[in-house]
Structure formats: C-alpha cells, structure tokens
Symmetry: C2
C-alpha cells in the first residue's frame, strides 16, 4: 500500500512525539511492505512565528492532497496573549473545518498497570472501556452570528446544526456501537435546547436502521455525573461539539492514562487527522522526556480508520501493551518496579517489538 | 422577625421533604421567636395535573409576594412524554426567569461519614469544599432565536448575554470568594466563544474591586478534568448557565453526599428560591423513606441568604452534622454501624436537636 501522510508537529512536545510516530510507521512499512511518504508542515504557534498565521494555506493544501494527517499538539505560553485570530488553537479549529473532519473519535480505555493513577477507586473504574464520538465541525464552535452588539453591551454565539450534520454523526455513533458492544448513549439537553430536540428526533429515527444497537438518551448534566459514578455503564457516547469537548476531557482523566490516549478526526470518505489527547506540555518540551505513546497510538488509529490496516494497527497496540507490561515507562507515569525511559528509548522499544 | 414563605412541593419526594423543612423552620421560629407564615402552591407535574400548566399564575404571584420560596423537586415518568410546554421542568425554568433568580449557589462539601461513598479515592476528595456560582437566567437557556428553520432542516439556539448580566453574576462570585477562602475560578470557553471573551473581560475588569480575591481563568473542558483530578483546588467557581449546569452536577457526585446537597437561587434584592440538588426520585416517592436533609439544608440557606439569620442557619447545619455523627441515616446512605430511619424520624431528630 502506498500512502501520503502529512505530519503537523505543531508546538512543544508535538515536535518530539511526531518523530516517534514516524519511526513506528516506517517500521510498519518495512515489516508489511507498504510505502508511506511523509511531508512536514507547520500549524499553530510554529506557523504563527514563521508565516504570521496559525494555519498557512500551504498546510491546508498539503493536507487536502494527503491520505491522512498526523498532528502533534498546538499552543504554548508564548502565544497566550495574542489576539484571537493569532492563537495556535485557531489553526486546529481551521484545519478541522477546512478538511470537514466532522467525526471526532476518542477511545478511552485504561491500562491495567496505570489504573492506580486514576483519581477514581479501582472498583469504580476497573473495566471501563468507552468511545466518545463527538461532532467536530458544527454547533457553537462555528455558528453565526458570533459577535458583540450594542457597543459591546450584548454578545451572542449561535448553536446551529443542519439535520444532515446531525444525521451523519449519529450514523457514526451507531456504526461504532455495532463494531463494539452494541450500546449507544446519545447525550443532549433536550429539556432545554431546540437543537437537542432535533438531535433526539434524529437518533429516534435512525434506531430502526440499527436494530442490533441498544440506544439511550441521557441529558448532558446527568452524563457528567454518570461518567464518574458509573464509567463502566458506557460503550459508545455520541454527542454534539461542545458537550463532546467537555465530556471527553472529563472522561480522559478517569483511567489515569491521559498521556496514553489517542484521537481520530474523520471526514466521510475516510481522510483523517490523528492526534494525541494531551496538549503541547510546554514545561517539558525539548527535554526528550515526553511520552510518545498517545501519538504512536494515534498513528495506529490512522492505519485502522484511514487505511483499513487492522493487523498493522493491532501490532502497534500490542507493542505498546507489551512494553508497558515489561515495566518501561516515561516520566509522566508511575509504574511499580518500572524502568524509566525517555522519548527516544520508548520509541525504539516499540519499533524493535514491531 | 416576620416572614412569608411559599412552599412549592412539586412532585415525587418533593411533597414529602417539603414537610420536613417546614417542621424544622417552625422549630426555629419557636426557639428564636420568629414568625414564619407558610403558603403552599403547585408547580411542575402536580400543577400540570391540576391546572394544565407547569407554572400557574397564582404560583408566580404568590412567589412574587413572598420573602422566600422553598421548592421540593419537579418531574416524573408520568409527564416524560408530554410536549415540551407541558413538561414539569418548564415550571422550574419559568419561575427562575419570572423571579429573576440569576444567581444559583451550590455549596459542595462532603460529610466525613459519607466520604466512603464517593467514587473518588479518599486522598483525592478529602477536604474538598467548593461553591459553584452559576448564572441562571441567561445564556443558551433563554436566548432567541431558538427554533427550527428551512422546514425543520436547520435548528438554532442562541447563547446571549448582556454585559450587565455578566457583571452581576461575576460580582456574586467575587463576593462569595471574599466570604470564603479568597479564591475564584472563572470558567469559560474563551478560546472559542465570543460570549466567553466578554465574560473573561468582565472578570478582568472586576479584579481591581476585589483585591483580596485571587482569580484564575480555566477553560470549561479543563475544569471538567480538574474537578476530578484535584477537587480540593477549588474554592468558588463562577460560570455561565449551561457550563454551570454540567459542572455543578459533575461536582455533586464527587463527595458521595448527593442526597445531602442544598442549593439557592437568588435575585439581586435577596429574594431566593431554595431547593435540594437531588430530583423527585419517583421510585421511592410516597414511601416515607426519602432523605430530607438536602431540603432541610436548603431551608438553612434560606435563613442565611434571604433573612440574614446566620445563627439560626448554623443551628440547623449543626443539627444535621450531629445526627449524622450519631449514626442516624436514611436508606440512600450507608453509614458503618448506623441506624436506619425514615423521613419522619430523621426530621424529628433534627427538630428535637433544635
Ligand atoms: C483547543 C480547543 C479549541 C479544542 C476544542 O475545544 O475543540 C480542544 O479543547 C479539543 O478538544 O481539541
Ligand atoms: C431541569 C433542568 C431544566 C435544570 C437545568 O438544566 O437548569 C436542572 O438540570 C438544574 O440544574 O436545575
């Protein structure tokens, strides 16, 4: 298989962990006889420094022509006080919209050896394994008007969805549930929002197409509670953009594995952008100590979702599990009787396993 | 002191626990020589059944003439499939707006004997004591337009705030922090929403008026994480309506004391509506087993915030703590070597202590 992959290192530790993903993918290419060609472009703070914009057109064009995109992380204190169009995260929002990456998938599964790092009691969190399917290109993030009025004395943002936008993400949720344990939780605020009422209607209509999936509706406030009191209740959660932002961050700290969590943002045709859930960690950037696992697991998701290379994805995931089982870990994790390694050594261990 | 109190039992266990609050307030009145006069009105499902609307005008009028309002809870399966204008929660939203109860205060503090019921590890949650100040009459809940368009193919909701609405709730947040540990966390999504940018500006402007308060800005997704990983970090959180809805429900399950948590919804002049955080619990309604403590503690908040009767409020809180320390508890709680009691007996214990 021949594929073009765009690398967007971004800022902070993004620049380090992206190399790890590349090394691992090259190992996969050799082992399985694929040809991956890589092209690197700027986004976020790095792009602001070089080109005066968080999302240069060359970056967008390259991504549009690619088969998949890997992104490290964006942001850092250097750009925190910039005006909003010169903020690194505008690059992220921009590329999602430009590529129509409407489906954000965040699988959250704890690693047994890390469960002790969870703030939750082991008996509460043990066995939890859920997938959050978040709508990523609509809702309050992109609705207009979004502006000040009356000399700045009033401000409005707009939560808007078309029925089509809701349908395609709800379909993703159902399909994901079919491939997992057949349980879908649709999260909305239908007791208050008109948009949530339409959302709930669409879910109800789609039910018939997926008779093998059991669906429930949960209000967003109740979902925020239940994620903590009963995380094992959930299989797939599907929800709109802002609710998904809040709930997926909440869920990501439950298992103690935040530094290990990958994510995928997909377009209808399979083009995807893959990035770790963690941020650019400016405090440890440049020191060679960052945990590359979330980035490497994001590359595995790329193989699975964009290239349908399930076996190759599985090998990477097995490699990570096995290295962790052997006790190797980076400085962000605590593993009993473990062996502390840096970014490069961790990457080499995974490459060697492959 | 002479005060008129409107009781809105609502539905389910609301009807039972409201009696407990009344009994406790009557004991306080006798002991401290006050005169409280009570008037009962309908809201929610009960009002739908009797008057065909979840918020009859007689109820609104009575509340407007009262010095304070106590509300039990609204909702139940009987009305779950009603059209949205005939849903019990419309009564709740309506009374908040009609009385201009813009400031919702939810103190969340664990009881030591109940901490074992928390899903969090004791070392994570122990010592946490926070207050969420939620804006209650603006934002996505009440913004217009909120409607379907294009034959139902598009839907919009509007998140709107005036600068004044933001200022008055931010003031409440600062003032609450002054009376507590002097730390205020303002939660927004300023990297995406225009409304959050104005919110953040207002907080920055107000800083100078409250030099004794340390302020930080936290994004709502990060706040949802930090509430779990580090709940003791927080003192006062101030935020807009929907973020407050989600975060306060999330926070309410951290300490294992959900059935014990009161809330206050205040107007600028001190008029307030007080209600337990828990719902109407239709599964145990009518059995005399409901935990009346959240309702009774809500009555204590009424004495404190609407009537400035701090001593009287404190006595109720001490009574609850002491009864709990003695081992008495209702069926929703598990207390080691405890003595199980029903609603009436629990109420009598608290009344006798007073
Ligand atoms: C950086 C920010 C705009 C972004 C979002 O809110 O979508 C981030 O929190 C995320 O979840 O990827
Ligand atoms: C019932 C519902 C409309 C209400 C809200 O969202 O405000 C409830 O969740 C609350 O927090 O009091």
């Amino acid at each position: 298989m021949k594929k073009r992959i765009v690398l967007l290192p971004g800022d902070g530790i993004g620049k380090e962990v992206i190399h790890s993903a590349k090394d691992v993918l090259q190992a996969i290419a050799e082992e399985y006889n694929h040809s991956f060609c890589f092209e690197t472009h700027e986004i976020g703070g790095a792009a602001i420094d070089l080109y005066g914009t968080p999302l240069p057109e060359t970056t967008v064009d390259a991504c549009k022509q690619a088969d998949a995109v890997l992104l490290g992380a964006v942001g850092g204190p250097k750009w925190d006080n910039n005006p909003s169009h010169l903020r690194p995260e505008k690059g992220l929002l921009g590329i999602r919209k430009a590529l129509d990456l409407f489906a954000n998938l965040r699988p959250i599964k704890g690693f047994k050896n890390l469960l002790h790092a969870s703030p939750l009691k082991e008996e509460v969190v043990s066995g939890s394994d859920l997938l959050i399917v978040r709508e990523l290109t609509g809702g309050l993030y992109f609705g207009t008007p979004s502006e000040r009025r009356d000399n700045g004395n009033t401000v409005v943002d707009t939560l808007s969805y078309t029925r089509k936008e809701i349908e395609r993400i709800v379909d993703k949720g159902f399909q994901a549930a079919q491939q997992r344990r057949g349980h879908l939780t649709s999260v909305d605020k239908a007791n208050v929002l008109e948009s949530s009422k339409l959302w709930r209607e669409v879910v109800e209509e789609k039910k018939a197409q997926y008779p093998d999936v059991a669906v429930e509706h949960v209000l967003v406030d109740a979902a925020a509670m239940k994620l903590i009191t009963n995380p094992t209740h959930f299989d797939v959660i599907v929800t709109e953009n802002l609710f998904g932002d809040i709930l997926s961050d909440e869920a990501s700290v439950l298992t103690g594995s935040l530094g290990m969590l990958p994510s995928a943002s997909l377009r209808e045709d399979g083009l995807g952008l893959y990035e770790p859930v963690h941020g650019s960690a400016p405090d440890i950037a440049g020191k060679g100590v960052a945990n590359p696992v979330a980035m490497i697991l994001s590359a595995a998701l790329m193989l699975r979702y964009s290239f349908q290379l399930e076996d190759e994805a599985k090998v990477i995931e097995d490699a990570v599990q096995s290295i962790l089982d052997t006790g190797f870990h980076t400085g962000d994790l605590q593993v009993a009787n473990g062996r502390l390694v840096g970014t490069a050594e961790m990457t080499k261990l995974i490459v060697d396993y492959i």
